[in-house]
């Protein structure tokens, strides 16, 4: 009996092993970056994610929207309600129409989603050489390699190797598929000033903003893993019990 179940398991594992092969795609190896949320018990480093939000707000947000994330979500990163309200109020949100049928601007509220830098996709493309900068809400889920890839991309700008022909307006990046990326190196040393005194190196900012992006893409990650551990412990005990019951039931059958 056991022999067969092992066989079944092996078959299932074979299917699993075959599946992620398609994730490889670009053929550029993405180095593994150590993040606080790695592994089964990993959680988000709140301080890092908060700094990452600051990097997003002061650097990325000029071109990239995060339309699925609301200001209220920032409280999950450890910001107080007052801080969230203050951040939201910094942004002018288009609302309406009002009683006169006009759209109007008002200060943001916690329930608002992040303000988008461009009113629509076409405007975003028009302002960026014809290619709209992608929305970053779920970017960590939308790129093979996730946060590792984001970090690699943000720190992967360098001079093109000799002989590499770079189109006008393109930039060379070691980790971008095809290496020619429309976005210029977005991070420069000391571009932002972190309130907690952390030195704003490119690597630090890239790490923090990657953490923030991972959180934005998977805000449920911590709850999911915590629940998963409990459920798997529960099921393991239940498996032992059911197996014992099965043994008992089958005790009088010779085989």
């Amino acid at each position: 009996m056991l022999r067969h179940s092992i066989k079944a398991l092996a078959l299932a594992l074979g299917l699993f092993a075959a599946a992620p092969a398609h994730a490889a795609g670009g053929e550029i190896a993405i180095p593994d970056r150590k993040f606080s949320f790695d592994g089964i018990f990993g959680t988000y480093d709140r301080a890092s994610a908060q700094r990452g939000f600051q990097v997003y707000k002061e650097v990325c947000a000029a071109c990239h929207g995060m339309r699925l994330v609301a200001y209220r979500n920032l409280s999950e990163l450890g910001l107080t309600q007052a801080q969230v309200e203050a951040i939201a109020a910094q942004f002018q949100i288009t609302d309406g129409p009002n009683d006169e049928g006009q759209m109007f601007e008002r200060p943001g509220r916690p329930s608002d989603r992040f303000r988008r830098p461009f009113p629509n996709e076409a405007a975003a493309a028009a302002a960026n050489n014809g290619k709209a900068p992608p929305d970053l809400s779920v970017i960590a889920k939308a790129r093979a390699g996730g946060a590792d890839y984001l970090f690699a991309l943000l720190t992967g700008y360098e001079d093109p190797p000799p002989g590499f022909v770079l189109a006008d307006g393109a930039h060379y990046n070691r980790f971008y598929p095809g290496h020619a990326i429309a976005m210029g190196a977005p991070l420069n040393p000391d571009q932002v000033e972190f309130a907690d005194g952390t030195s704003a190196t490119v690597e630090q900012m890239a790490h923090d903003v990657s953490t923030f992006m991972q959180w934005a893409a998977e805000p449920e990650l911590e709850q999911r893993r915590a629940l998963g551990v409990k459920i798997i412990i529960f099921l393991t005990i239940l498996a032992g019990l059911t197996y014992a019951v099965k043994r008992k039931v089958w005790a009088d059958v010779k085989h």
Partner: protein, 422 residues
């Protein structure tokens, strides 16, 4: 059957009252209580029950997801992400549903593998097998349309590519495609109808599963030896023996399922499906979900468009006639030394096709896909018919209880004992 109240054996007055008028309890008792089941099942026989449970999980989670989902091209992607972010436990329900599709296919593939290995498709179970193939086809259609609903890049381009398969048919092809789309391209009407059908088909599957189980309960189950039970000494009542055994498999299955849902929910998915659908940009490397990869590999292995489509559909439709391609009177491959080797090779080919389906269609990959495709069909069309004539099967045991009891003389008392509890 005489007209009047059913003669119920239940003692509980409420149960008895209902049972006399509608003998559902008697039926359940007969079909799932005392139902005589071969005593020698191995754990491969769990997978039918696992598939049934998975279908129910998919329907339950699907119903709750549909309460939050918006089937509109402008809203679908964001509504799914809203489920993930704002709906209470929405992430859990969606990840169960999303990974449940993969689990469903794993379970059903093993179920099919078991049916092929132990010859469960042979007389008198041909129709039972064919109903199973119908379920599998319905599952594939349902899974495909479900994958379109989040309206990511893979949803959109998967829908475009798969519906375009029908354009391969001469004359009517383009009309069929237009009919499927409800427009000139995959767009809002397509999304709407796919949502409607994705909600409907699981209930159709449920109906065919009912027929599948009904047919099973006419012929009785096959078993690892592939010989029919000769009497009560060869069977056990379904309950408690197989309810207990299925429960073990079920809980172990849930553990595997939970590992996927809680710790690797996007492992089997494709990152591009988190990019909203864009009809202007095709992703550089589009692949279907993993469970379609073998057929996708067959499609791409053929250089001709129509030929590829026909072979792809044929690769599953051929299962319908499997009972008549394999005329060997011996069911279980335990007693078919040659067929066993050829079948395991076929299984390997299936896995190779699954692997190569995810690779770019170029160079050696095409060659590998072609060899595997050729053997995939040769197994059914050449190997099995020939083996039925040429193979010399091993001697079959006299009955199920004899090898189970170690081949010695049959102690009647010991074998009959479990039946007293039935």
């Amino acid at each position: 059957m005489s007209i009047g109240l059913h003669n119920s054996e239940f003692k509980n007055p409420v149960v008895r009252w209902v049972d006399q008028r509608l003998p559902v309890f008697t039926m359940m008792q007969k079909e799932y209580g005392t139902f005589p089941t071969p005593r020698n099942f191995n754990y491969f026989w769990n997978f039918g029950a696992l598939a049934m449970v998975t279908l129910m999980i998919m329907i339950a989670t699907g119903i709750f997801l549909s309460m939050h989902y918006a089937a509109h091209t402008g809203l679908a992607f964001d509504s799914v992400e809203r489920i993930m972010r704002d709906v209470n436990f929405g992430w859990l329900i969606r990840y169960i549903h999303m990974n449940g599709a993969s689990m469903f296919f794993i379970v059903v593939y093993i179920h099919i593998f078991r049916g092929m290995y132990y010859g469960s498709y042979k007389a008198p179970r041909e129709l039972l097998w064919m109903l199973g193939v119908v379920i599998f086809l319905l599952m594939m259609a349902t899974a495909f349309m479900g994958y379109v609903l989040p309206w990511g890049q893979m949803s959109f381009w998967g829908a475009t590519v798969i519906t375009n398969l029908f354009s391969a048919f001469p004359v009517v092809g383009s009309h069929i495609v237009e009919l499927l789309w409800g427009g000139m391209s995959v767009d809002n009407p397509t999304l709407n109808r796919f949502f409607s059908l994705h909600y409907l088909l699981p209930f159709v599957i449920f109906g065919v599963v009912f027929l599948h189980v009904a047919a099973l309960h006419i012929t009785g189950s096959n078993n690892p030896l592939g010989i029919e039970p000769k009497g009560p000494q060869d069977t056990l009542p379904f309950h408690p023996y197989y309810t207990a055994k299925d429960s073990v498999g079920l809980v172990v299955y849930f553990i595997v399922f939970a590992v996927l849902v809680f710790f690797a929910p996007n492992y089997l998915g494709h990152p591009d499906n988190y990019i909203p659908a864009n009809p202007l940009v095709t992703p550089p490397h589009i692949v279907p979900e993993w469970y379609f990869l073998p057929y996708y590999a067959i499609l791409r292995a053929v250089p001709d468009k129509l030929g590829g489509v026909l072979l792809m559909f044929g690769s599953i439709l051929i299962w319908f006639v499997l009972p008549w391609l394999d005329r060997s009177p011996v069911r279980s491959m335990r007693f078919r030394p040659l067929a066993r080797v050829f079948f395991l090779l076929w299984t390997a080919c299936f896995l190779v096709l699954l692997w190569v389906g995810a690779k770019p269609a170029e160079g050696t990959y095409v060659l590998i896909a072609r060899i595997a495709t050729a053997y995939y069909f040769a197994y059914f069309l050449v190997v099995l018919p020939l083996l039925a004539r040429l193979e010399r099967p091993l001697p079959l045991p006299e009955s199920i209880s004899r090898p189970v009891l170690g081949g010695g003389p049959l102690p009647m008392g010991a074998a009959a004992k479990p039946m007293e509890k039935a």
